[in-house]
Amino acid sequence: MILGDFGTSYCKFLDLDAPEAQPTIIATRELPRETRVDLATGHNGKRFACRYVNELIALARGGEAMIQEKDYVLLDCGSRDIKFIKYQNGKLADMGWNAECGASMGFTIELLERYYELDYAHLRVPEQTFSVTCGVLGMSDIFDAVISGVPVAEAVARFVKGIAINAYRFAGSPAKLYLSGGLCDNPLFVGSFPCQVTPLGRFVLLRGLEAEARQPRPPAIA
């Protein structure tokens, strides 16, 4: 059984029938059109599979599989959106999915790194931050800061920190959170959160699909 997490910028796959198989990743723009999987999630997923699990459910199931605590907040920062699941006493307590006002944050972070030829691994977390609620609108702050004499790297770092703080507040400002998504590999982003962060990597939704696949449940209400 092949699982697929079809994200905006990257698609992740796992073949459950291949022993010791590791997840694979491919840029969405390079995804062959004829791709088919058995179980999919992600906003592009419905086009590539006959069975689809919505992203919040996949995130929650992934959290259940990977986090041993009963109380936690799991935040997923993707290219296009941010979403979180909060569990208390092992039960769902809150959730959120910001696909509009949180739009394109991850996408913009990656875009800026390439455009300005930066390496986030070598940028320190800045003291100051921008008030960022949207990746696209937040870019104006960068341009304004650069015009006023702030170095590009510092301006971008403030932007990234602003995005992290916005995501943190969206998740309810927890003292500790688990982080999911490709931004787990961005030390500037992870270090910008004003709380304890445990990165879980970019395959949390795949783990959620795996849990769904191994323990079939009645179909979702739809």
Binding site: H43, N54, E55, L56, I57, A60, D81, K91, L92, M95, G96, W97, N98, A99, E100, P218, A220, I221, A222
Partner: protein, 259 residues
């Protein structure tokens, strides 16, 4: 034009076709029924016109229900509009009434519905598709007749709290055993200003607290959702977004609610 319920009802004999916004007092609806008037509920999408045609009169960032009402009022041939601006509606309706009164060549009559005689809310507690029940409840505002043959109530497995949404498609996701709370329950009970009834919820049933974006009731919805032990607060504007659908779907499934 603001009239008391008796005066509002008395003016009705001059009309054949009226529009209502919100829930005018029962005396008005009863008089309209007695005179055989056609009643259009302007809160619902009735004409195939772009919502943007309301933008010269109301801000784009405004309650989608009132923007819909303005679009209907602009495009339907009506003899008068009765708009409730009392405690069972909102300030938004009051300001909309002012704008419509200046814009339209027909009387725009403001009412204050303070009816307290409850008709009951059997549809809110019945085991039937949620969309069908919501349609029946909203259609019910055009009639003053008491309910006949009410369906039996069921044990709830989920709750929907709030106003009838502009886009009913969000209701498809709920099981038939969903109980309806909030202002919709007040609608069926024909007591739209009963704030105590509006604030009731069932803490035993996972409940979605719904409000239209930019509606004052978003504050109440979120406040009650925080008090409820197992709730999802949700606000939706004109159309149900895919993320709103996904949130409801995930909330119900992760709460163990089955169709």
């Amino acid at each position: 034009m603001a009239l008391d319920p008796a005066s509002s009802a008395a003016t009705l004999s001059r009309f054949r076709k009226i529009g209502i916004i919100g829930i005018p007092p029962l005396a008005v609806i009863r008089a309209a029924n007695d005179h055989g008037l056609v009643i259009h509920d302007l809160d619902e999408p009735l004409v195939r016109e772009d919502l943007e045609t309301a933008s010269p009169f109301l801000p784009k960032v405004y309650c989608a229900i009132l923007r819909t009402a303005v679009v209907n009022a602009l495009h339907l041939e009506l003899d008068a509009i009765y708009i409730d601006t009392g405690p069972g509606k909102c300030d938004g309706a009051l300001h909309t009434a002012t704008i419509l009164a200046e814009t339209l060549p027909i009387p725009v009559i403001c009412t204050r519905n303070t009816d307290t005689a409850g008709f009951g809310f059997p549809l809110c507690q019945a085991r039937l598709p949620l969309i069908a029940r919501m349609q029946a409840i909203t259609a019910g505002v055009k009639s003053a007749a008491p309910y006949s043959n009410p369906p039996p109530s069921c044990v709830p497995t989920a709750g929907f709290w709030g106003v009838p949404p502009r886009d009913f498609s969000i209701l498809e996701l709920f099981p038939d055993t969903t109980h309806i709370h909030g202002w919709t329950r007040c609608m069926e009970n024909k007591t739209p200003a009963d704030h105590d009834l509006e604030a009731e919820f069932n803490p035993e049933a996972p409940t979605v607290f719904f409000a239209q974006s930019f509606c004052a009731k978003t504050a109440l919805a979120r406040y009650l959702a925080k008090k409820h032990p197992h709730a999802l607060y949700l606000d939706v504007d004109v159309h149900t977004t895919s993320s709103a659908r996904a949130k409801v779907q995930a909330f119900l499934e992760l709460s163990g609610v089955r169709p």
